[in-house]
């Protein structure tokens, strides 16, 4: 009885008793969730267009952030470093298509997956070689990102919103909306979806797979850069940061590997779920449940909907 009360009654009583704390927790969850969504979005983009699960997505994020900071350290002004980093991500996409994807076209998925492991280790080595392995701090001020906090006096208390988090959420929102529009309503967007659906048919209407792959990897690279900037600002820019990409896995399971809206909603659910879990239920287990709760949520989901919230159901005729 004691235990049931502690699990099912007390946490909710706390929520009602202190709504400002609840709002604070949800806000923090949403912010983390937005960033998970962005990482998951990078995975989804590449998976949809080339059927590759891109293990290197996490390191691409670190590499992009590292390039940005590293260039700035070497005396390049922040805005120029940003443009240069975008150019570097384009060059990376071009190189990956030319040197990895093209020679491996039509190979089994597992080979392509292994190739992305290769890309991961290459980027770690290359990044260290050029910019060094020391953790760096993100150049938030130079990029004109706001700092400080915004205090809202609501719900009988104080809710504190970090301005940086607000900026992250706004930029993520802009990126997601523009990507969705781009996918739905333009020629290249249609071509991307066409390639995702059927390679052969896409070729037959004159869509060049090579070109599409470059565009997709470049888009994923830009998304990685945005994620890298905000994750980097929350902690620091180091290779250890790539493990947050693993947080995208439960998001992908929840949202479905093929769905852009799934990545968004999945990210938010995971973000909010783990913050609420940590804050209200964590003490029961002695805390620290944030690091694994997401996987449990995803696992529970797998049992019910293996294709994820928005993923395409795979129906095979036999």
């Amino acid at each position: 009885m004691e235990l049931l009360r502690a699990v099912f009654v007390d946490p909710f009583a706390q929520m009602v008793a202190a709504p400002d704390l609840l709002a604070q927790t949800i806000w923090e969850g949403l912010v983390a969730g937005v960033l998970y969504s962005l990482i998951a979005l990078g995975f989804v983009l590449i998976y949809k267009a080339s059927g590759v699960f891109n293990f290197a997505q996490g390191i691409m994020m670190v590499f992009a952030a590292l390039t940005l900071v590293g260039l700035h350290e070497k005396g390049v002004p922040a805005w120029a470093a940003l443009i240069l980093t975008i150019a570097v991500m384009y060059a990376l996409a071009l190189a990956i298509e030319r040197l990895v994807l093209r020679p491996l076209v039509n190979q089994p998925d597992i080979i392509l997956l292994m190739a992305t492991f290769g890309i991961t280790y290459f980027l770690i080595g290359f990044g260290e070689l050029v910019f060094g392995g020391n953790p760096k701090s993100m150049i938030t001020k130079e990029l004109l990102l706001p700092d400080g906090a915004l205090d809202l006096h609501i719900l009988g208390g104080k809710v504190e919103l970090q301005k940086l988090d607000i900026a992250a959420a706004a930029i993520a929102l802009i990126m997601v909306v523009s990507l969705a529009t781009f996918f739905q309503r333009t020629r290249i967007g249609r071509a991307l979806r066409a390639v995702a659906d059927d390679h052969q048919a896409a070729l037959s209407v004159g869509i060049s797979l090579d070109q599409i792959w470059v565009i997709v990897w470049f888009t994923a690279g830009v998304v990685a850069l945005a994620t890298g900037i905000f994750w980097g600002a929350r902690s620091e820019v180091s290779f250890a940061l790539q493990v947050v990409a693993l947080k995208a896995l439960p998001v992908l399971i929840l949202g479905g590997l093929t769905s852009v809206p799934g990545a968004i909603v999945g990210g938010l659910i995971i973000g909010v779920g783990e913050k609420l879990g940590e804050f209200y239920w964590g003490p029961l287990l002695g805390g620290g449940i944030e690091s694994w709760l997401a996987y449990v949520i995803a696992l529970a989901f797998l049992l019910v909907r293996p294709q994820g919230l928005f993923g395409e159901r795979i129906i095979e005729r036999i």
Binding site: I188, D198, L203, S204, V205
Partner: protein, 260 residues
């Protein structure tokens, strides 16, 4: 009538294709004249689809050459073939299943739309004008194929006969010089076949597409085609006007089996 020899759009010359040790096509030659409907027939496994795959660049023959508009063609990728005016449909419908009918047909305009990534991303000015102009072409094709009612339906949800029609629409949206149709009427009932035949004839007469057609329904082939090439076990066994082919002993043998 059509010019006899000087207006050859595509010539296949001594083409051989094999996969490992299996010969799919052995030393086949034939040509397709501008403006005609050319049927390719033969029993299952005769190499008909392989032939279309060679023509639009999915396969590269080990031997032989292909002359396109009178010039020998270098090894070509499918999207390059598409850029040169070769469109096709597939035996087992290859549509973009998650996309609507309209979007599927719009992909056929891919090569006609030139605006770059930058304008596309902004979706303003020239890119928008271009989008609208090409949308108009697609709407006209949708009218022609009588599929207005399914414009916004994802094609994966459509019945087979309509999917075939959307696929034809996508190929027509490319305004191809040569249209390759791989069993466009497979699995259709008579009424659907009649509709499809009408669309093929009109595409040929009024839209100026030269057509290469693989079809199993001999009645349809006899009605539609100007000339017929017959393949059997990867070899060409007949090449003539439909009436002659119909009474050719080797063709009858290939279809019905002969006692040796």
């Amino acid at each position: 009538m059509k010019a006899e020899t000087d207006d050859i759009l595509l010539a296949v010359e001594h083409v051989s294709l094999s996969f490992g040790g299996v010969r799919a096509i052995s030393d086949v030659s034939f040509d397709i004249r501008r403006g005609e409907i050319r049927a390719i027939i033969g029993p299952n496994g005769a190499g008909k689809t392989s032939m279309l795959n060679v023509v639009n660049g999915f396969y590269h023959p080990q031997k032989g050459a292909i002359r396109w508009r009178g010039r020998a063609r270098a090894r070509m990728k499918p999207y390059e073939a598409a850029a040169q005016g070769i469109a096709r449909t597939f035996q087992n419908v290859a549509l973009f299943k998650g996309m609507t009918t309209l979007d599927n047909i719009m992909t056929g305009r891919n090569l006609r739309m030139k605006r770059n990534l930058f304008w596309q991303a902004l979706r303003r000015g020239p890119a928008l004008d271009e989008e609208i102009a090409n949308r108009r072409v697609c709407e006209e094709i949708i009218d022609f194929l009588e599929i207005e009612h399914i414009r916004k339906t994802p094609v994966g949800a459509l019945p087979y006969g309509l999917q075939k029609r959307v696929e034809l629409g996508r190929a027509l949206a490319m305004e191809p010089e040569l249209l390759l149709l791989d069993e466009p009427m497979a699995g259709m009932n008579r009424e659907e076949k009649e509709d499809m035949s009408r669309f093929i004839v009109e595409a040929n007469r009024y839209r100026g597409a030269t057509i290469a057609l693989i079809e199993h329904d001999i009645g349809v082939v006899m009605d539609l085609s100007d000339r017929v090439v017959v393949l059997d076990y990867g070899r060409k066994i007949a090449d003539d006007v439909p009436e002659k082919v119909k009474s050719d002993g080797k063709v009858i043998g290939a279809y019905l089996g002969v006692s040796h």
